[in-house]
């Protein structure tokens, strides 16, 4: 009997909400690079007598995310205290939501393995507070072997939306697609910056494999799921899941069994290792938080948020394909972030042809951003100027070579389009007189080549192209290839 092993994956993603203050106190959420324990107060330190008050903006952002995921949103859901002792958790409980989440039953479409869109169900979305951070004095920064540990509570109390997917994800590739689709969504909605490397989006995966008869499809064994933690990039999500599925399959093939456990992804070694088994699972002793009332989500609030929702990324993608005749792949690249899509559209709106603008943004602009490690917001070339530059190409007022030279000057020297154009000596407009003058001087300087052409020995037209090239060089690329060819052709005709 032949067996097939089918992975079953569900993801739990913590998204840091882009509020200015924490979930339950007025402290700043801007903890990256801040002096340790400076964004703290009695509330987020859990001092005796301090009480939480709910940040309305956090609720609004969580509702936005829930709307983007087409969830059902509930009025009057409550917070629970989830208890466990850890040095980064000031009150020894995390304020979270338990049996009544803010929103549930949503969906998100991703590009499935089969090539067509695939629906991934959203189990729930709830609000909770982040913990602080521990800094360990061990060389590798981990707790094991550290002589001292320091607690920094700047991150403690930052609002998170936890988004749990249904176990609808069928492969590591689909998991990656799901994470990137969710990241794109939260960025569009302005709910979070979605940066995985800064910890604004943290992914845990529940993964199991199902063994079935390849011929009949009969299910023979369902493995217990493992929860994988510590995957800090899209790539590590995919790698960790590939490893884990291989591991579970190998265990089953060798006659072993799988038990529910939590596993840690070690990115350096490319393996997952067991953290704790089901028996050691924590009992969180959930208690409805008596210090916080129900979360009010009124109809007016829902209407106001709904009317402020932007164009969704998938809508924008479809529009780019329809309106600008872009390929699906190119459109997907351009709508990755709302800022990049805006950049592209501003470029097109200032006159550039959509296809050429798409090529320039995807290649030249993204290359520069990658080299500099910055986002589109910090692109040294304004989209309107890039649009004008691309339209110079469109209208044959500049060659590709010159356009790239101008772009380079704008990027490297911070010049405006006008300044860079001046610097290149390329004003775009080259008078017919100047072109003819240049052609004449090239022909005069190369009598041998001219003789060969006139003698009918330039059968493949190579000599003619050589002459044209020299004219282009002479005009510093200001003339378009077509115009140069025309002039040379007329001169040669005149000589015959």
């Amino acid at each position: 009997m032949r067996h097939v092993y089918t992975p079953v994956i569900g993801l739990e993603i913590h998204v840091q909400l882009a509020t200015e203050s924490k979930l339950f106190c007025p402290c700043s959420t801007d903890y990256i690079g801040a002096e340790p324990n400076t964004n703290v107060c009695p509330v987020c330190l859990g001092l005796p007598g301090a009480l939480p008050t709910l940040n309305a903006r956090a609720v609004e952002l969580a509702v936005r995310a829930a709307m983007g995921l087409s969830c059902e949103i509930h009025d009057g859901t409550i917070f629970h205290r989830k208890h466990y002792f850890y040095a980064d958790l000031p009150k020894a409980y995390q304020v979270s939501q338990y049996d009544r989440p803010l929103a549930d039953r949503g969906e998100l479409y991703i590009s499935g393995d089969g090539g067509s869109p695939k629906r991934i169900g959203i189990t729930r979305l709830h609000l909770e507070e982040d913990a602080g951070k521990l800094v360990h004095s061990a060389a590798d920064g981990r707790l094991e072997g550290a002589r001292e540990s320091y607690a920094d509570f700047n991150r403690g109390g930052v609002p998170l939306a936890e988004i749990v997917s249904d176990p609808d994800i069928g492969s590591p590739r689909e998991a990656r697609e799901y994470v990137s689709a969710l990241r794109r969504l939260v960025r569009y909605l302005g709910v979070s910056d979605g940066d995985m490397d800064r910890g604004s989006m943290r992914v845990d995966a529940n993964v199991s494999v199902v063994k079935s008869n390849a011929d009949t499809g009969e299910i023979l064994y369902r493995g217990d799921r493992a929860e994988i933690k510590n995957m800090n990039s899209l790539r590590s999500v995919e790698r960790a899941l590939e490893y884990e599925i291989r591991r579970q399959r190998a265990t089953l093939e060798s006659g072993g069994t799988l038990e529910r456990e939590t596993r840690h992804w070690n990115d350096g070694e490319g393996v997952t290792t067991s953290m704790r088994s089901k028996e050691a699972a924590l009992d969180y002793r959930c208690l409805p938080d008596p210090d916080l009332g129900p979360i009010e989500v009124s109809r007016e609030m829902l209407d106001a948020i709904r009317s402020s929702l932007p164009e969704m990324p998938w809508e924008r993608e479809a529009r780019f394909i329809g309106d600008y005749s872009l390929s699906e792949v190119d459109a997907a690249v351009l709508v990755e972030t709302p800022a990049l899509a805006d950049y592209y559209e501003r470029c097109v709106r200032s006159g550039a042809s959509p296809l050429r603008a798409s090529n320039w943004v995807r290649t030249e602009v993204l290359r520069v951003l990658n080299e500099r490690g910055v986002g589109i917001e910090e692109c040294p070339v304004r989209p309107e100027e890039l649009g004008l530059l691309v339209s110079m190409l469109d209208e044959g007022r500049a060659s590709t070579t010159v356009a790239k030279e101008i772009f380079g000057l704008m990027v490297d020297r911070g010049l405006s389009l006008q300044e860079a154009t001046d610097r290149c000596g390329a004003h775009g407009e080259l008078s017919q007189e100047d072109l003819e003058l240049a052609a004449r001087s090239v022909l005069d300087a190369n009598p041998d080549v001219l003789t060969e052409i006139m003698g009918g020995r330039d059968l493949k037209g190579k000599k003619r192209k050589f002459i044209c090239g020299l004219v282009m060089k002479e005009t510093r690329g200001r003339a378009t290839p077509g115009a140069v060819e025309d002039v040379i052709a007329r001169f040669l005709e005149g000589m015959e």
């Binding site: 001092l47 005796p48 007598g49 000031p90 607690a151 002793r285 959930c286 208690l287 008596p290």
Partner: protein, 497 residues
């Protein structure tokens, strides 16, 4: 200045320049110095802070700035209430030496009313206890009989008011922590409606029931203090918005035709389940009867309500919820950020060492019980069940209060017990809260006053009102106070003859 001067009288004299704020502080300090060796009602005397506050008040009064309603009135706060820059221990080794870095709403409001916070009162450790004997820093004696407990948890505050250190004290009431010591020490105890007074800066025990309340020697002073501390506070999500009525008007002497029968038209209910209850001490039953007679004399119509659920299951329900919430509130004391921190070589031994040394026996017992109750295997059977019972008790009480204005019942089933008498008898101790947990579970306001016979140990009677019915409570207590005063006068006249 007399020892027994009320807060209202003190504030009036200070405002009118007859008395200087420093003098009121001096009287407090002198009384405390004399009586503390025997009573031990206080954990910290804030002499320097009080001195500065008095000087500031003096200066502002001499600049002609308007006096506050509590100008120059010495006040004691229980040691679970944060006062910036002063020690706040909750009577626990866990917080020994911890200096609160921020002010509670109560201390802010007292400061701006001209009151002078003079000391922190002794209490049961983290408010867990009914006798102030679980304080890690020694027990407090009852000023009425030093061989007896003052009650608890707010025993230190109640004793300080009863002994005349100060006319007012503020303490947190959870299930009777303030009403029961008021009863044992013979002072007024007012537990306001849940949400009427901000809990900001008051260390939590069971947040769904914790409510800051008032201890005083007169009903007028309770009204005065309530008008200062009640108000909406956005820092406490459970604080209720809306205007507060004029509590002073409620205790003002009525005039005209109502003067003799101020409670005419009021229906005041006794609880049927109290009838023939063998657990009720004779002195407490007599105190209730005496009160009912005075209420009737003041014009009230006496009726009866049935509260079987509240009285048969209230205490058990309360204890389950108290333990669950307390275990959560106490979880934060782990040695990482504040207070005691044990020497340890791992995180786990830090927790064990700190919580092992920092908490006393009773605190550990309640925290362990709460941890057990909230365990996922027991959650439904214990916590959820108690929550459902609570909901039904609330319904029963609200239904009863729909048919009457106030409910009258003894505050405690007995008078103050002897020190050490119930040591280790947790169940026996908790019975002293048999009649106070109901108002706590329902978030209702309750006012306790002494109704003992002359020369007897104090025995409190309490009135319970619908939510936000403080004015009605105060009016009824004021009527009783006046009936009693007129009887006393009549008695004196008789004896003179």
């Amino acid at each position: 200045m007399q020892l027994s001067m009320t807060a209202a009288e003190t504030a009036r004299r200070v405002s009118e320049g007859e008395l200087r704020p420093l003098e009121t502080v001096d009287v407090f300090m002198k009384t405390a110095r004399e009586r503390e060796p025997n009573l031990h009602a206080l954990l910290a005397v804030l002499e320097e802070r009080a001195g500065h506050a008095a000087e500031r008040l003096d200066a502002s009064l001499s600049r002609g700035e308007g006096p506050g309603p509590l100008s120059g009135v010495p006040v004691v706060l229980d040691d679970g209430i944060c006062v910036r820059g002063t020690p706040t221990t909750c009577a626990s080794r866990m917080l020994e030496g911890w200096i609160a870095p921020y002010d509670s709403a109560a201390s802010e409001m007292l400061d701006s009313s001209g009151a002078i916070i003079c000391a922190k009162g002794n209490m049961d450790e983290f408010s867990i206890g009914c006798s102030t004997e679980t304080s890690a820093f020694g027990a407090t004696a009852n000023p009425c009989d030093p061989g007896r407990v003052p009650g608890g948890s707010a025993g230190g505050c109640a004793a300080a008011v009863a002994a005349g250190y100060a006319p007012l004290a503020l303490a947190c009431d959870t299930g009777g922590s303030l009403l029961q010591p008021a009863s044992y020490c013979g002072v007024y105890g007012l537990r306001p409606t849940y949400g009427l007074v901000s809990r900001w800066g008051v260390a939590a025990l069971a947040p769904s029931m914790d409510q800051l309340g008032i201890l005083s020697r007169t009903v007028e002073d309770a009204a005065l203090a309530l008008s200062v501390i009640s108000g909406h506070d956005p820092r406490d999500a459970m604080s209720s918005p809306g205007d507060r009525p004029d509590y002073m008007a409620a205790v003002a002497v009525p005039d005209g035709k109502d003067a003799r029968r101020p409670l005419a038209g009021r229906r005041i209910a006794t609880v049927a389940e109290m009838r023939g209850g063998s657990d009720l001490a004779g002195a407490c039953r007599e105190a209730l009867d005496r009160t009912l007679a005075m209420l009737a004399e003041a014009g009230a119509e006496l009726v009866e309500v049935h509260l079987p659920l509240s009285f048969n299951h209230g205490l058990a329900c309360y204890q389950v919820l108290l333990a669950a919430e307390a275990s959560s509130s106490l979880a934060r004391f782990d040695g990482v950020r504040h207070g005691l921190s044990a020497e340890a070589d791992s995180l786990n031994s830090l927790y064990l060492g700190t919580r092992g040394k920092g908490f006393g026996r009773e605190v550990k017992r309640v925290a362990a019980a709460g941890t057990y109750i909230l365990g996922s295997d027991r959650y439904e059977d214990c916590y959820l069940r108690a929550s459902n019972v609570r909901r039904r008790i609330v319904g029963e009480l609200l239904d009863a209060l729909a048919g009457c204005d106030l409910i009258a019942l003894p505050t405690t089933p007995t008078t103050a017990f002897r020190r050490g008498e119930l040591d280790g008898d947790y169940f026996g101790m908790s019975l002293s809260l048999s009649f106070t947990v109901q108002a706590s579970l329902a978030g209702l306001p309750a006012l306790s006053f002494n109704a003992a016979g002359a020369g007897e140990l104090p025995a409190g009677v309490q009135l319970i009102a619908p939510r936000r019915g403080e004015a009605g409570l105060l009016a009824a207590a004021a009527a009783i106070e006046r009936v009693r005063a007129s009887r006393d006068e009549a008695g004196e006249r008789r004896s003179e003859r």
